[in-house]
């Protein structure tokens, strides 16, 4: 053990002594060399050039080779000979004797005979770590082309953060393995994707990337657009990818006449030229509006896809969302087209932006919506155009002139006939029925819930569809007097089906001949005789699109809803009625309270100041108050009424009509405080005693009207007895007088003989 320890100690001591010795030897040797070479005027001529042989002792001593003797590198010199033998390659130093430079030899530098000293210097060699930060300058000291030089100003070099790149970040990591500047595409992508993963991924899937993968030589790569060393931020105006430079960048390949343009298989021509005149180009180039769209705003920059691709930003399906990136508020002006988000949810149903606004020609002009109509009319303008449907020949002729006068005169054919498909020929084939709900969603929804709508949904042949009332191409606004849906023509329109004998004539017992009756009603006369379009027509009571049978509790003509329906026009009356004894709000009863239509017959509704209305109180008040109506007709008012006296007091003249209240109510017209005044409307001299007249008196009621009862029976007895007496008198007289006469005649006959 002791021996072993001694050996180790001895060995350490020996190595230390050797090191100290050798250093001292190196120092002694180098001093010899520097005796001459520390003179900075020491030169020699080589190939006519003066080369300095000065070695900065101080710097050398600071270099990593400071402990190495000059002769360790400059191997082939003869120390005795001064100056050193010419022609011998003593200047050429072979670093490989100490350093493994195999990799360097394979590198582009190695192959191009770049010396180690070109980068590492000769006598001032530093630690590798000290290169950091200076590599760029080092490279640029040789690579002096403007392209490479521009790197210094590029986004990669001057990135504000610490992430600024050096040459080696792209050109293969380690210093000695720098490969050819010509990256393969694969290398290039892997280089760029190390930082720009997303962009590269997108690019690889793009039209450009695909072409590149297939090896199409026209296909662009990253550098085509972004450049190599002079890559600038797209926010930098000098950048190729700066927004204002995009059209020219893309135009490099895509303008007319280029080889790329010859490859195009799309309907667009003169893309760049068209773009130049478009409102987008106008915005950006003439007005400096950076928000205006350039190629990449619609096509996107890296993930450019052909329009057939469903993921493409310019696919028909996605156009709307692409355009609305900028045209956020476009819904405000295109409201009718895209209401209910149809634009986004059902892009196949309605035209896309580009159907009207040609993609590269997005001009400032307001497009005539109907420009596609010419195509439609080229066939549908033919009067003989027909199709076969269910074995019947159906005309497909469209009177374009009429369409032009219709309410849809501004709409193009395709706005309604949305199911046209360019894949079909003709494109309109099997495009199906027009769905009006695209624009008129509310109305169609109402219709669907109506009796008409439910019958239509059940497939009833008799049920009307939108076009049955509104017409097809010759559809007019309801405000147009020519329209079948104008207020003026509504009764005729509904009559087409609801007139007696027609398919939808109502056969309820009390509602026959509704159309004929309506014409005679005050509403009908108002419309048809007086020309008042404000008068109620069918649709005002039954609702336009949401008509329901009266039995339906949601119907506007349901017993419970009638009052409200009438109040739309007769609100003042409704207000009065609300406070009357007939109002369910006032009168809580299980009895069925009357509503407007109980007195004012729905279709035969009369003017109340015309004969017929006032003569029908039996059907009005009499419906419920039969006993008092009966007795009313036993008194003077009632009796003259039966003779056609319109002015004579009727129920409502005394009781009030809509504001009717029981006589004990102080508000009643018959309340004892009011009745004298009420009678005064007809009897100006009415007085407290006068109003004691019994307007509903009957002499049949002994309990209630004893005076009348006994007067009547007194008179009746008088009559009966008088007639009985004289009846008998006469009956006795007659046979006697006849007999007398016979005898008389006989006598005179005898006398004559």
């Amino acid at each position: 053990m002791k021996n072993q320890l001694n050996i180790t100690v001895r060995l350490i001591l020996f190595i230390s002594a050797a090191l100290v010795y050798s250093t001292s030897i190196v120092t002694a040797q180098n001093e010899d060399c520097l005796a001459c070479h520390s003179d900075n005027s020491l030169t020699y001529e080589k190939n006519g050039k003066e080369v300095s042989l000065f070695v900065n002792e101080e710097k050398y001593s600071n270099s990593i080779h400071t402990d190495i003797a000059c002769t360790d590198c400059h191997e082939d010199y003869d120390a005795e000979e001064l100056p050193h033998k010419e022609g011998e390659n003593i200047y050429k130093v072979d670093c490989s004797s100490c350093h493994d430079v195999g990799a360097f030899g394979k590198s582009v530098h190695g192959q191009k005979k770049v010396d180690c000293s070109n980068c590492h210097s000769k006598h001032e060699i530093k630690e590798a770590s000290e290169f950091k930060g200076n590599e760029k300058q080092l490279c640029l000291s040789c690579h002096k082309t403007s392209n490479v030089k521009a790197f210094e100003k590029s986004i990669h070099a001057v990135n504000a953060s610490d992430k600024s790149l050096s040459c080696l970040d792209c050109h293969n990591g380690t210093a000695h393995e720098v490969t050819s500047a010509k990256f393969s595409e694969e290398q290039l992508h892997s280089v760029c994707s190390s930082c720009h993963q997303g962009a590269v991924d997108n690019f690889e899937k793009s039209l450009h990337g695909e072409a590149l993968t297939k090896g199409r030589f026209l296909a662009p790569n990253c550098l085509t657009c972004h450049g190599s060393h002079k890559i600038l931020s797209s926010k930098n105006e000098k950048s190729n990818t700066y927004k204002m430079n995009i059209p020219s960048l893309c135009g490099d390949c895509h303008k007319d006449g280029t080889r790329v343009s010859e490859l195009r298989n799309i309907s667009q021509r003169h893309i760049l030229a068209d773009y130049a005149f478009s409102i987008h180009a106008d915005g950006i180039f003439k007005r400096g509006l950076l928000g205006s769209a350039v190629c990449t705003d619609c096509h996107f920059s890296h993930n450019i896809l052909p329009h057939e691709n469903p993921k493409s930003s310019i696919n028909r399906k996605n156009i709307a969302s692409t355009c609305t990136q900028c045209h956020v508020q476009i819904e405000k002006v295109h409201a009718k087209v895209i209401k209910g988000e149809l634009w986004e949810k059902q892009p196949h149903v309605i035209p896309a932006c580009v159907d009207c606004h040609q993609p590269h020609k997005v001009r400032r002009v307001v497009y005539e919506e109907k420009y596609t109509d010419k195509l439609c009319m080229s066939c549908h303008g033919n009067k003989n155009l027909t199709k076969e449907a269910d074995g019947k020949s159906v005309s497909l002729y469209v009177d374009y002139e009429k369409l032009g006068k219709s309410v849809h005169f501004e709409s193009s054919c395709i706005k309604c006939h949305t199911n046209v498909n360019v894949k079909n020929n003709p494109i309109c084939i099997s495009s199906g029925k027009v769905d009006c709900s695209m624009c008129h969603a509310e109305q169609v929804a109402k219709f669907a819930g109506s009796r008409h709508g439910t019958l239509h949904a059940e497939g009833s042949e008799n049920a009307p569809y939108c076009t049955d009332c509104h017409g097809k191409h010759d559809m007019y606004s309801k405000n147009s007097v020519d329209s079948p849906t104008s207020r003026r023509h509504i009764p005729d329109l509904c009559a087409q089906c609801h007139r007696s004998g027609e398919k939808a004539s109502v056969l309820r017992h009390d509602q026959r001949d509704i159309v004929a009756n309506y014409a005679m009603s005050i509403h009908g006369k108002g419309l048809l005789s007086s020309g008042l379009t404000v008068t109620a027509t069918c649709i005002d009571c039954h609702e336009t699109h949401h008509e329901l049978p009266a039995t339906d509790s949601n119907s506007t003509v349901n017993h419970n809803n009638i009052s409200e329906t009438c109040s739309k026009c007769h609100y003042g009356i409704y207000e009065k009625f609300q406070y009357s004894i007939h109002s369910p709000e006032v009168n809580v009863t299980k009895k069925l309270l009357p509503v407007c239509s109980d007195c004012h017959q729905s279709h035969t509704i009369k003017r109340v100041d015309q004969d017929n209305f006032r003569q029908h109180i039996y059907e009005q008040c009499g419906n419920c108050h039969l006993d008092v109506t009966d007795t009313y007709f036993e008194t003077f008012h009632g009796k003259v009424s039966k003779l056609g006296a319109v002015q004579s007091a009727k129920c409502y003249d005394c009781h009030g009509a809509h504001e009717i209240l029981p006589s004990y109510d102080p508000g009643s017209k018959l309340h004892r405080n009011n009745i004298v005044e009420t009678c005064k409307t007809c009897h100006p001299n009415s007085n407290r005693m006068f109003v004691g007249y019994l307007t509903h008196a009957t002499h049949h009621d002994r309990e209630k009207y004893p005076f009348l009862f006994y007067t009547f029976w007194g008179m009746t007895i008088l009559l009966v007895s008088t007639f009985t007496f004289f009846g008998l008198h006469t009956l006795l007289w007659l046979p006697r007088a006849l007999a007398e006469r016979k005898r008389h005649k006989k006598n005179s006959d005898e006398q004559n003989k």
Partner: protein, 285 residues
């Protein structure tokens, strides 16, 4: 004796009604028929035929006006008749007693009762026909029926015509209803009586059938007078007054006119009574 000659040659008719009375009866006929028709129209206003009549006459306003106009005529003839009686009393210097119980008086008396009993006996074939005087008991009844009727119907009618005025005097309103019943039923009685009993007694009884135009022509033949009213004839002869009342027979023109007018009135009356009976049986409650 020239008077006697005249009697034989010319004056063979006895003047039963003077011109004033005849004129008055025309007023009665016109106003009564008018009142009856326009009144029944409202009494039976629920009956179609009466509604049609009202419409035909120009509506209830017209019938109402006609009814009131006829009422005025009624009050007029009533007044005129009273005036006539007063004048007669004054001019002919008649005593009240004569007016109330004389041979020409309208006031019923004991003899009328006897005549009625006699008439019933005659009807039953147990006695001769009584010798009637100028006014039989049924004629007196007719006369007072008008008096009674005009008073009752007229007063109640005025009440219905001016209800505000009468109630303002303090008459209660329900009396209007009472007045309505009285007016209406009394009118029915009057109408029914005149158009049946009066018509039969005067015109349709076999010895006068179909019409007795004396109320228009004013005179009857002496033969008829002797036959029909033997007591009056006797009285006239006895008192020597007959000659005073002898007149020319009515001209054929007058007779013709009287018959046309008379038949019209009778027809209207009959038609009305038929309609009333029809209404009362089938439609009146």
């Amino acid at each position: 004796m020239s008077a006697e000659n005249n009697t034989e040659n010319k004056k063979v008719h006895y003047e039963r009604f003077d011109k004033f009375t005849r004129s008055l009866h025309i007023m009665v006929i016109i106003s009564f028929i008018s009142l009856a028709i326009t009144g029944m129209v409202i009494k039976f206003s629920g009956v179609g035929i009466f509604q049609s009549i009202s419409k035909f006459l120009g509506g209830y306003e017209v019938t109402g006006f006609v009814h009131r106009l006829a009422a005025v005529i009624t009050f007029a003839y009533f007044g005129l008749h009273v005036f006539y009686l007063a004048r007669k009393k004054k001019v002919e210097k008649r005593s009240i007693k004569y007016m109330l119980s004389g041979e020409n008086s309208m006031v019923p008396n004991k003899r009328d009762w006897k005549e009625f009993v006699g008439t019933v006996k005659w009807f039953l074939g147990v006695g001769p026909r009584p010798e009637y005087g100028r006014w039989t008991y049924w004629e007196k009844f007719d006369y007072f029926a008008v008096f009674w009727g005009v008073m009752i119907i007229g007063l109640s009618g005025l009440f219905l015509w001016f209800p505000e005025f009468f109630t303002s005097l303090g008459i209660p309103g329900w009396l209007i209803n009472v007045a309505t019943i009285i007016h209406s039923d009394e009118a029915l009685l009057a109408t029914g009586f005149i158009f049946t009993v009066h018509f039969f007694n005067t015109h349709f009884r076999p010895d006068k059938f179909p019409i007795d135009t004396v109320i228009f022509t004013g005179s009857i033949s002496l033969e008829e007078l002797k036959e029909d009213r033997p007591r009056q004839y006797k009285y006239l002869v006895e008192t020597g007054q007959l000659e005073k009342f002898l007149v020319d027979p009515p001209s054929p023109q007058l007779v013709k006119t009287a018959r046309i007018f008379g038949f019209s009135a009778l027809t209207l009356g009959i038609l009305l009574i038929v309609m009333i009976i029809y209404s009362m049986i089938f439609l009146y409650q």
